[in-house]
Amino acid sequence: MVKKGIRNILFASKDVGWVLEPQAKRLFSMAGLNVPRFTMSSTVEEAVRFAHKIGYPIVAKVVSPRIVHKSDCDGVAVGIDTDGELTKTFTRFSQIEGFVGVLVEEMMSGLELIVGAKIDYQFGPVILLGIGGTGVEIYRDITMRMAPLRERDVESMVKGLKASPLLEGYRGSEPINLSELTRLLITFSELVMDLEEFIESIDLNPVICSSTTCVVADARIMLKETGGNP
C-alpha cells in the first residue's frame, strides 16, 4: 500500500518524467529513510536563513527539471561556509537551464555508497548496492539482488563488493553501521516493491554512511513513461 503523500509526489512529477531531488527526499523521508536536514529555497534570503539555522558548512545544489545529473553542469557545491559564498553560488546556479531553486542542506561525512533500484523487464524489481559518488560508473563496484531483500541478501551484497573492507572498517577506520545499512536496504526494497508499476529506476547516490547512520544525501526517481496513475 503506497502512502498518500508518496503517491502525491509521484503524481505531481509525472509530466517531468522524474522526481526532482527535494521531492524525492521528502518521499524517502516519508518511507522511513534518513535524509539530511534540507530546504528548497527560491531566493538568496531563504537560503541564507536556512544556512544560519542549521549552521555552516552546508551543501547547495541546483534544482532544475532539465538537469538529471547535477554535477555534469557544476550544479553541486559542498563545504560552503559563508553567506558570501552561498550568495555567489546561488547566483551562479540561477543561470543554469531550467533553474527553479537551490536546495540547501547540512553537510554529511562518511563513506559514499550508491543504493539503486531498477524494474527489470525479465526479473522485476532489482536492488543495487555499490561504491557511490560521481565515479560509480568508472569503478562499477556493485552487487545486485532481486527485491524484496532479506537480511542474508544484504549480508552477501556487502561481502560481494570489492570494497567491502571499507564498509567493515579498513586500516583503523571505523566500520560503517551495517545494521543501519541493512535497515535502509530492506526498507528501500519494500518501497520499491510497492512502487513497481510507477517507476523505472532510482538512484540514491550518494548514501553517506558513518559509524552511526546512513543518510540519503541525493536521490532521483525516474518514472515509467507509460506508468499508471499512482
Partner: protein, 455 residues
C-alpha cells in the same frame, strides 16, 4: 497439464509424412522411430496411401489406438486445424516441428494454437523446434539417426531454445561421456516454456541435473524462473546469451546504466542458486561435475599430481577462479609422508599440491587421496593423472571412487584426452568421477559445485 505423454509416449503419430519425398522432416522422424525406438509409430497424411508397406492414415482419428503424442510437421497455416483434430481425438500432447509462426511475424497463427491448447489442457512443445529426444521411447528430431552423435543414457536433462545448440551439446556430452536423460528443443516456446519444464523435471525421477540454454525471458518470467530454481532440489545450470549491451536507448540513471540485462541475470542467478554457465564449455563441464556430484562445496581444494608443473598450474587456476588451496600443516605433511611408499617418501613434496613425483604408484595416489579427503581443511580433491607415469595403472580410477563413496569429498580428475589413454578416461567415467581435458577444466568442475548453493 500432464506432460507424461510428451516425454514417455507409448504411441506416436507423425503427421505430414510425404509419400514421395523421403527427406521430408516427417519421414525422417517416422523412419527413425519405427526403426530404433520403443513407441509404436503411425504415419499420417490427409491423402492416405501406403508408406514403406505401412498404411498411412488420412486423419489422426482413423488410427485404431489411442495416440499419446502427435508430431506435427505440416505447413504452418494447417497446424491449428490439425491441432484441433488431435484434441478432438484425445491425443495426449504434441510436438509442433513446423516453422512459420511468431518467428516470421505470424503471431496470429501461434496465438490460435495456444488458445486451442490452453482451453483443452493440451500440452505442446514448439512450434519451430526439433522437439524431444527421449530414448528409448522416441525421438522427434528431424535429423537422420546415422548423422547424430548420441550420448549414453544418463541423468542430465537438456532444455534449449535453440535446436542447433542442443544437438551440439549432445555431441559434446557424448564426447565427454556425460549421460543424457532427455533433450528438449522448445523453439518459439509458445505454450510450454522453461519454467514449465523446470517444474516438471524437478520431480522427474530420471533427471538429476537440469541444464538450460536460454535466449530471453518474457516480462517477469525470469523472476518466476529463478524463484522456482530456488525451490528445486536438483542443480539447475543456465547458459544465457545476450551479454552484449543493447544499444540505442538513452539511460538516465546510474542504476539503469549499470544494471544491464546480463548483469541482472548473473546477480539474481547467484542469489537463488542457479548455476550460471558463462559459455558452452562451462555448460558441458558443469553438467559433467554436477551429474557425478549432487553437492556443493566452498572451494577448498586439495591437489594430487606427479608433476610439479601441473600442480603449480592447478594452483594458479584455482586462485583465478577464487578457490583456495590450503597449505598443509607440518604435522599433516609428516603424517601423509608416513603413508606413501618409501621411494616416494624421500623425494615427494606434501604441502598441497601433493607432488608424488614420477616414482608414484597407485597406492601412493590412494594414500594421498584418502588423507586429503579426511581433512576438514579440504572439501574437493583434484587428481592430475599423467598416464605415462610408469607405476600408475588403469585400476586407479575404480579405487579412487571407493574413497569418494566413503569420505563424500568430490574427486575430479585430469587425464590428457587422447585415444591412447582412453582406458584411463573410461576408468574415471565408469566410476562416476568427472574427468577433464585440461587442468583448467578440473577447476571449472570444482567451480560448478561452488556455484551450486541450494537455496
Amino acid at each position: 497439464m500432464n506432460f507424461e505423454a510428451l516425454f514417455k509416449p507409448k504411441t506416436l503419430a507423425v503427421i505430414g509424412v510425404s509419400l514421395n519425398n523421403d527427406r521430408h522432416p516427417a519421414n525422417v522422424i517416422y523412419n527413425k522411430n519405427s526403426l530404433r525406438f520403443q513407441a509404436e509409430v503411425f504415419p499420417v497424411n490427409d491423402r492416405g496411401g501406403i508408406l514403406q508397406g505401412e498404411m498411412v492414415y488420412a486423419r489422426i482419428s482413423d488410427i485404431p489406438q489411442e495416440v499419446d503424442l502427435a508430431v506435427i510437421a505440416v505447413r504452418a497455416q494447417m497446424v491449428p486445424d490439425i491441432m484441433a483434430e488431435c484434441i478432438e481425438a484425445k491425443v495426449g500432447g504434441a510436438v509442433v516441428i513446423s516453422g512459420g509462426f511468431a518467428e516470421i511475424g505470424r503471431k496470429d497463427l501461434q496465438e490460435r494454437m495456444v488458445s486451442l491448447a490452453s482451453e483443452a489442457g493440451f500440452p505442446f512443445i514448439g512450434p519451430n523446434c526439433l522437439g524431444i529426444y527421449s530414448p528409448p521411447h522416441m525421438d522427434t528430431f528431424f535429423l537422420p539417426s546415422e548423422r547424430m552423435v548420441r550420448p549414453n543414457k544418463g541423468r542430465v536433462t537438456l532444455v534449449s531454445q535453440s535446436g542447433g545448440t542442443l544437438v551440439d551439446q549432445m555431441t559434446k556430452f557424448a564426447n565427454e561421456g556425460i549421460g543424457l536423460s532427455l533433450a528438449v528443443s522448445i523453439g518459439n516456446k509458445a505454450l510450454i516454456r522453461e519454467l514449465d519444464l523446470l517444474r516438471y523435471f524437478a520431480h522427474d525421477p530420471g533427471t538429476d541435473v537440469i541444464a538450460f540454454y536460454v535466449e530471453g525471458f518474457e516480462k517477469n518470467e525470469g523472476r518466476e524462473f529463478v524463484l522456482a530454481t530456488g525451490r528445486c532440489p536438483k542443480p539447475v545450470i543456465v547458459l544465457k546469451s545476450g551479454k552484449s549491451p543493447g544499444g540505442g536507448r538513452a539511460i538516465s540513471s546510474h542504476t539503469a546504466s549499470m544494471a544491464g540485462d546480463y548483469e541482472v541475470f548473473s546477480a539474481v542467478a547467484s542469489q537463488y542458486g542457479v548455476v550460471e554457465a558463462r559459455n558452452e564449455l562451462e555448460l558441458v563441464s558443469f553438467c559433467e561435475a554436477l551429474s557425478c556430484y549432487n553437492q556443493s562445496i566452498e572451494g577448498r581444494i586439495g591437489i594430487i599430481t606427479t608433476s610439479g608443473g601441473h600442480g603449480a598450474l592447478a594452483v594458479d587456476a584455482c586462485f583465478s577462479h577464487g578457490l583456495s588451496v590450503p597449505t598443509l600443516s607440518e604435522q599433516h605433511q609428516a603424517e601423509i609422508r608416513e603413508q606413501v611408499s618409501p621411494r616416494v617418501r624421500a623425494i615427494a613434496s606434501f604441502s598441497n599440491p601433493i607432488d608424488l613425483t614420477g616414482s608414484a604408484v597407485d597406492d601412493d595416489f590412494i594414500a594421498a587421496a584418502k588423507f586429503l579427503s579426511s581433512m576438514e581443511e579440504v572439501d574437493c580433491v583434484l587428481i592430475l593423472l599423467l598416464p605415462y607415469t610408469p607405476g600408475v595403472t588403469s585400476d586407479l580410477a575404480a579405487r579412487l571412487s571407493q574413497i569418494y563413496r566413503q569420505a563424500d569429498k568430490p574427486l575430479i580428475a585430469y587425464v590428457p584426452h587422447v585415444e591412447k589413454y582412453g582406458i584411463f578416461i573410461e576408468g574415471f567415467e565408469f566410476n562416476r568421477i568427472p574427468v577433464a581435458h585440461s587442468i583448467e577444466g578440473t577447476v571449472h568442475m570444482a567451480e560448478a559445485m561452488r556455484r551450486w548453493q541450494p537455496w
